[in-house]
């Protein structure tokens, strides 16, 4: 069942003279209980995309167009089952669809606050610094609980904070400690416990393990996995680390220059990669235990996204570029049709899709992309 449906979303940052097209016409959807990964290099828009869902953009960022349908609604629009009331759904003034999904993009600042944490919680990028140093860790969890469930008795909220901490492997008594008394791994766990405080349907984990050492990272990933099984929560993970993604995601979207270049079930994206960018990325990523091959980098550097031209965003660095790529950025094509040398636009955002005009020449591209000369040729042409 679909929990989140993002349709043709575009986000801009206003820099005064020009606009940064941080996200451009992105469509994807997340099912309940699923882990969805957004992977890409710095500046590709992955964090912007994740944060825009709950309106946490910087002050100059705004949603230009598009919809963010979420299965869940504001508390005062709900009936006793938690579904939106009939009159709300039927009234056109409310951004609620017939199937009960709410368009988060249309909510105002006050309204989105009821969604944050209660329905969608964020595990921020620098979780190490996300805790308030002058409040006890337990009290910070209690604060979140009381904000969203004001009728909870205070001692019950405190008990809940302790249970949550214990659930993520921290001694309940440590709830009375301050953040500086926690180690790095414990802070990360505490932030995860905090995100789970109101039993959300979805977690947004922004680089959840980036600042952590491998052994701690290993345990946090294990922890997220268990939480997901236990509470059936969906997780939207944002990371630049492909190997972390390979491990935890069910579905994956590879982003570049504000666009999704390739997306689909994890194994298909990794094993039958169809987009030149994904193929290049795989060439440049070392493995620890597999056979060692020479790494090949993608020449050039990512685009700036300041009022970009209408051509394919990867054009400048792509060894497979043809004339058509200059016309406009390619739509998402169905990869399984591409395997049969057909070019069909993908309607379902959950299937394996690739934004590339040459999707019908997969075999050639894959063979060529595995050769080092292919990528070097691009450098010399420029």
């Amino acid at each position: 069942m679909t929990l989140l449906e993002v349709n043709d979303l575009s986000i801009r940052y206003d820099t005064g003279d020009a606009e940064v097209h941080a996200i451009d016409g992105v469509t994807f959807s997340i099912d309940r209980g699923e882990t969805y990964g957004l992977v890409g290099e710095s500046g590709c828009g992955k964090t912007t995309l994740a944060k825009s869902i709950i309106h946490l953009l910087d002050h100059n960022g705004f949603i230009e167009s598009g919809e963010v349908w979420f299965d869940g609604t504001l508390p005062h629009w709900e009936d006793e089952n938690g579904d939106p009331r009939r009159e709300i759904v039927e009234d056109d003034r409310y951004p609620v669809r017939d199937d009960g999904m709410t368009d988060l993009a249309q909510l105002d600042t006050e309204q989105i606050r009821d969604i944050r944490w209660r329905n969608i919680a964020l595990i921020p990028q620098s979780a190490m610094n996300a805790l308030n140093p002058v409040y006890k860790v337990g009290d910070q969890i209690v604060e979140a609980v009381l904000r969203h469930e004001p009728h909870t008795p205070e001692d019950e909220a405190h008990q809940r904070a302790r249970d949550l901490l214990e659930r993520v492997g921290i001694e309940p008594d440590r709830a009375d400690d301050y953040a500086h008394e926690y180690s790095g791994g414990m802070k990360q766990r505490a932030v995860i416990a905090m995100a789970m405080a109101c039993n959300p349907d979805m977690l947004i984990a922004d680089e959840p393990t980036t600042a952590l050492d491998v052994i701690i990272q290993d345990r946090i990933l294990d922890e997220l996995d268990e939480l997901q099984k236990e509470f059936n929560v969906s997780i939207l993970v944002v990371s630049h680390d492909i190997s972390v993604m390979a491990e935890i995601c069910d579905q994956l979207a590879v982003m570049y220059g504000g666009k999704i270049m390739e997306s689909g079930p994890k194994t298909e994206v990794f094993q039958q990669s169809a987009n030149p960018y994904t193929l290049g990325l795989k060439n440049s990523f070392p493995t620890v235990k597999d056979e060692q091959t020479d790494l090949v980098s993608i020449p050039g550097s990512p685009p700036t996204l300041l009022d970009p031209d209408d051509e394919c965003r990867f054009l400048d660095r792509c060894p497979f570029a043809v004339e058509e790529c200059r016309s406009s950025h390619p739509p998402m094509y169905d990869v399984s049709a591409g395997e049969e040398s057909r070019r069909v636009t993908a309607e379902n955002p959950q299937i394996h899709r690739s934004a590339c005009y040459r999707v019908d020449e997969l075999e050639t591209m894959r063979t060529e992309a595995s050769k080092e000369e292919t990528w070097q040729a691009t450098t010399q042409n420029r």
Partner: protein, 451 residues
């Protein structure tokens, strides 16, 4: 790329670096002795000419400090470092100048290591000026152009007058490499040289470093927390933990056939990009202890999966590992009787045993019936006298007499791992500091140790 006849270029002997050895005001007022951080502690390391030596470990293990010791950015507190046969702490002025030219360092963050007010040309030329190399402006300018071309910033003319802010991360790091190379060094310490760069750019810088090694005949030390980069780059690798080098050897052997339990855990923890790869989770407990007050004996023993039972231990190693954990928890006041007995179904001493013996491990390494920080002691083959001691201690805890509880366990369950800091010994092609390996033989000797 190792030469056939390895010749050591750097020899590190028993080097330690202590920080915070001076007394602060509060220490002086309270009459306390300073407790220094032992960032690097008794490290022996040999780096052969033409090698890429990797230094890996978690943050705080001392790898960057060791790197800085090698280029004389820190002075060693104890021990000697010899470069090309000469002790670097005892150089004359001319020797020191020569050393500064032959040894270079590349820093982690190219966004910070370049002066924003100097053009690429000025930045790269500066080392020539300092070392008084080159005959006049034109010669130096030619050398700068040459080295910029070598590091892939071609055509050099296009980059000479750029400021760092006009360059991308990959280009900046190439400028930093050019700065190191222009004085024609023999030995370069690279401290996380690509960790600030994006994946698609990183590979280019790494390959460049490999190419330049051949071209300029360089020896590298490559410091990184990223084990897959170490694997890709290095001929030999040293793994550090809390200031000690605990294992070193040929990289592929260290990765694929690790000897030290910490090395094994470290590599197990790295996620694999192949979604179908079978991966084990790291079999360690707890977190890295405070380097001001490191554990006695082997520094890894409180977290180690292979801790060695004393002679005459009748149970299994797994049982001993848990008993040892129980003991440590009692000694560190980490076992709270109230908390253990709260919500517990069983008798209170049992409840304490159930809590105290349980390890927090990933599912694949924990025993059956070991879940949510509690274990049924009957699944462990605890020797009867051991169980008696544990119960005594648990009784004392319940009575609130923590000192008596400590006295119960203090002299029991002694492992060689907590008594003696293991000397470095050979194990296969590696050398490692672990009691599992006999001083001369390479086979595990402890009873009950599984792979």
């Amino acid at each position: 790329m190792a030469s056939d006849d390895p010749e050591p270029i750097v020899e590190v002997q028993n080097v330690s670096k202590l920080f915070g050895t001076t007394q602060g005001v509060t220490d002086r007022l309270l009459g306390r002795d300073p407790t220094p951080v032992r960032a690097v502690d008794g490290v022996d390391l040999t780096i052969n000419e033409g090698d890429i030596m990797g230094i890996a470990g978690e943050s705080g293990c001392g790898k960057t400090t060791l790197g800085k010791l090698l280029v004389k950015l820190h002075e060693a507190t104890h021990g000697t470092i010899e470069f090309d046969g000469k002790d670097i702490s005892d150089l004359s002025k001319t020797e020191r100048n020569e050393f500064r030219q032959r040894v270079q360092m590349i820093f982690q963050d190219p966004f910070e290591s370049l002066n924003p007010r100097m053009t690429v040309f000025q930045s790269v030329m500066e080392p020539l000026k300092i070392n008084d190399i080159g005959a006049g402006y034109q010669d130096r300018r030619d050398r700068v152009k040459q080295v910029l071309n070598d590091v892939g910033l071609a055509p050099a003319e296009a980059y000479l007058d750029e400021f760092p802010k006009e360059l991308s991360g990959g280009e900046r790091q190439r400028v930093a490499i050019a700065r190191a190379l222009i004085v024609n060094p023999d030995f370069i310490v690279c401290d996380e040289p690509v960790s600030m760069l994006d994946v698609s750019i990183r590979a280019g810088v790494l390959n460049l470093m490999k190419e330049l090694q051949d071209e300029y005949g360089l020896t590298y030390v490559f410091i990184s927390h990223d084990l897959s980069l170490i694997r890709y780059m290095c001929d030999r690798t040293a793994i550090m933990y809390l200031g000690n080098v605990i294992e070193q050897g040929p990289t592929s052997e260290v990765v694929m056939n690790p000897k030290h339990p910490y090395t094994e855990a470290l590599f197990d923890a790295v996620p694999e990009i192949d979604p179908e790869a079978e991966r084990h989770r790291a079999n360690v407990t707890g977190e890295v202890p405070d380097p001001r007050n490191p554990p006695a004996g082997c520094r890894f023993h409180p977290r180690c999966s292979n801790i060695i039972p004393p002679e005459g231990w009748a149970g299994s190693q797994e049982a001993f590992r848990r008993v040892f954990q129980f003991k440590s928890r009692v000694l560190q006041d980490d076992l709270d009787p109230e908390e253990a007995t709260e919500n517990a179904a069983s008798e209170s001493t049992d409840a304490i045993l159930e809590r105290g013996l349980a390890l927090e491990l990933p599912e694949e390494h924990s025993l059956d019936a070991e879940a949510s920080r509690s274990i049924d002691p009957s699944v462990l083959d605890l020797p009867a006298d051991a169980e008696r001691t544990l119960r005594e201690a648990a009784e004392r805890l319940l009575e609130g007499d923590f000192e008596a509880a400590k006295a119960e366990v203090e002299d029991e369950f002694e492992s060689i791992c907590e008594r003696e800091n293991p000397a470095v010994r050979e194990a296969g092609t590696q050398v490692t500091a672990c009691h599992l390996y006999e001083e001369e033989a390479g086979e595990p000797v402890a009873p009950g140790v599984s792979d």
